[in-house]
Subunit: 423 residues, 2 copies
């Protein structure tokens, strides 16, 4: 049997970027460079899957080994990302067909898609369609999401670093508040990401540990906000410790199912203001308890904070990229590499894989027994799950006091198709 | 002449705490321990000067050498701080007299006050009053303020670390926004501290450098906010780069002299909401340009972020504490050690000192030629001033992925006075 010629690979970053998604890109590109007999070049989509649809491909072979290595310590999406969600095959078959056309024109035989639940679904569909269209593509999904909501895998690259940022920041701000609480701020409120699940808010809980106890009240999206119970809890904590930190998920809802952040804030002219939930909670504390407060909204800082990334997370993000290529060269299709936990303490994990039809459209919520009975804290089980994910520091290199993040050349691949595609 | 017996020292932390104020405390305590023939014990005020007024002193000699050493890497105020401002001698002479009584009762001959402009003034008054009351106290002010507004000293310990945090965070969030700007957020707004001066906002400007250019618009409290000019600037930047980051000082005012944050935000019931300025700026961007935005409020995270402290700042904070004790044992009174800049590049500095009457009630504003002509950026001169202050990293030790910050025993000194003092 003649040896098959080496095909090119396509790689795209999808959805919200993270502090470590580029580490997965480095894992893919560096590993692919070791299998040149199977994978010729890695092309990246400029701005994610949009780059494939518009035939705007980036030739990663033009990047030096040093630049690709530096991706490991660079946050954000080095090739650009997007939130463009492909519709169902029935609704917009043309999009999928276009992808196959572009892949065919550029001799692409491997599709690596680095994202969350939606991109796992896209990945699965492309694999199915390439079959029916008679142009074979091996589609491998590379897990990434700060929301930590992909099924099967023990955790998702990107989450561990956000968790570490939130845990460290909550500890630091709590030390600050504690030291001035006698005459100043008594309640500090930190708003964190997580519209559907409380994974990130839960990380605020590990700011407090046996050797460094801190009064922390967590508001999870999983627990309907109950004003009087919340105020009683804060009052009790502030009474006992002199201060209290509140970590509130942006996705917290009231008993009416409405987001607490949608409180209809208006400016002096009556215009609606899109506010965060932290000032709303601050207002509730002020009105209900009359305690002095401060609030912070971490927003993008939390998911881009490569300077305090979790070493475990960086390693796993890289390992997922590497494993994706290894699965591809072994001939696998329609799969996702996973992180399999072997032990909590000391933490041990290995790489597994799962067929994509078990991943697409399945959201992993936080287990009920991860939230304490009163709904305001994390359980020992949750702590045992979270703590390994923030282990280790992996500092980027600094020059003149600033982290040195790489910017790639992102050289375009010459277009081959005559037809433009409008997004 | 007989050798004078060693007197005790009093140390207090004043005003808003920082990531490195405890490094000054370590400098004082460790250095004082080397001069036991001159300084017997260092007593700290619990919750700052309030501890002196209420005779609530902490005996730092009960802390191990390891615990005091760990102060160097611990943010916040280890003995507690307060914003209690002593009134003028005429208005409340009783407070000053009480301080002298407490100092006399505990054989205190040295007063180290670690704070900003107000505490320099208090320090000066205590020195003057101790003279007139015939109980000699050597009062030394130890500079500390994230606001960087003390005169004479080149910069203030605490500022460099906030500057580093803001520069790093702005760079990281800008990378995040850049990578998704094609289909998502185009304007990112970060609110930073600085009610009177734009020093901290200026630090956002060094997120952008020659090798890593980033479009950043800074809103300084020194420049009256002009909505149409601001919108034109953001529009131009977003047009040219595809995205834009805005660093806004909490102290920005409109042409009417009112804080931009005081826009009279109200909830659905008409209650006034104390909001930050970031959501106000976001609303202006949305209404004026229709661009997708995100906003963050760093609040206490910026001044407690010991995990990304500037090594230069830590060294200077420690050096100021050490110098204060050395000035004291030399017999100096009513002075403040200062940082004297010798060269920008490579950065060189030495320790100086200044009489307190040249410090008290003088605020150092940002020079006009530090702000670019259009009012939205920093000049080369400002960059040359700022960059040395964020040089170097000084990471705290970690255990299980979390920074190990020390908590002292804070053992009280037995009270000697029979009269209580009400604050």
């Amino acid at each position: 049997m003649p040896q098959q010629h080496a095909k090119n690979a396509f790689y795209a970053q999808s959805g919200g970027v993270t502090a470590v998604i580029n580490a997965s890109a480095a894992g893919i590109i560096e590993t692919a460079r070791k299998y040149r007999n199977k994978i010729a070049k890695v092309y990246a989509g400029r701005d994610g899957i949009i780059g494939a649809l518009t035939e705007d491909l980036i030739d990663t072979s033009k990047e030096s080994a040093a630049a690709i290595k530096a991706l490991r310590h660079t946050p954000s999406g080095a090739f650009g990302s997007c939130r463009y969600k492909l519709k169902s095959l029935e609704q917009n078959r043309r999009e999928y067909e276009r992808l196959i056309e572009v892949f065919q024109a550029h001799d692409i035989g491997f599709f690596f898609y680095n994202g969350g639940g939606d991109s796992a679904d896209t990945c699965l569909k492309i694999s199915q369609l390439s079959d029916t269209m008679g142009y074979p593509i091996q589609a491998i999904h590379v897990p990434k999401t700060v929301d930590n909501d992909l099924p099967v895998t023990d955790n998702c690259p990107g989450f561990g670093s956000v968790a570490k940022y939130i845990a460290v920041s909550t500890r630091e701000a709590s030390f600050d508040v504690a030291s001035m609480s006698k005459t100043s701020t008594k309640v500090f409120i930190l708003e964190v990401m997580g519209r559907h699940a409380g994974w990130i808010a839960a990380a605020g809980g590990i700011a407090s540990s046996k050797d460094t106890e801190i009064p922390i009240v967590i508001l999870f999206p999983e627990v309907a906000f109950d004003k009087s119970r919340f105020l009683a809890k804060v009052d009790e904590m502030a009474g006992r410790y002199g201060y209290c930190s509140v970590v509130v998920s942006e996705g917290v809802k009231g008993a009416d199912g409405k987001f607490l952040s949608d409180q209809g804030l208006r400016d002096a002219f009556g215009h609606a203001q899109l506010g965060g939930v932290a000032p709303v909670v601050a207002g509730i504390v002020k009105e209900g308890l009359g305690l002095k407060y401060h609030w912070a909204v971490a927003d993008y800082l939390q998911r881009s904070a490569r300077h305090i990334a979790s070493k475990t997370d960086v390693q796993q993000a890289y390992a997922m990229g590497k494993a994706a290529v290894e699965l591809a060269v072994k001939g696998c299709n329609s799969v996702m590499p996973t992180i399999v936990r072997l032990a909590d303490k000391p933490y041990k994990w290995k790489i597994g894989s799962v067929p994509l039809d078990q991943v697409a459209n399945v959201e992993k919520m936080m287990p009920k027994d991860f939230i304490s009975d009163d709904g305001f804290g994390i359980t020992a089980k949750c702590r045992a799950y979270l703590e390994p994910l923030i282990q280790g520091e992996d500092y980027p290199p600094y020059k003149n006091g600033m982290p040195q993040y790489v910017r790639l050349k992102n050289v375009p691949v010459k277009r081959k198709l005559s037809v433009e595609f409008k997004i």
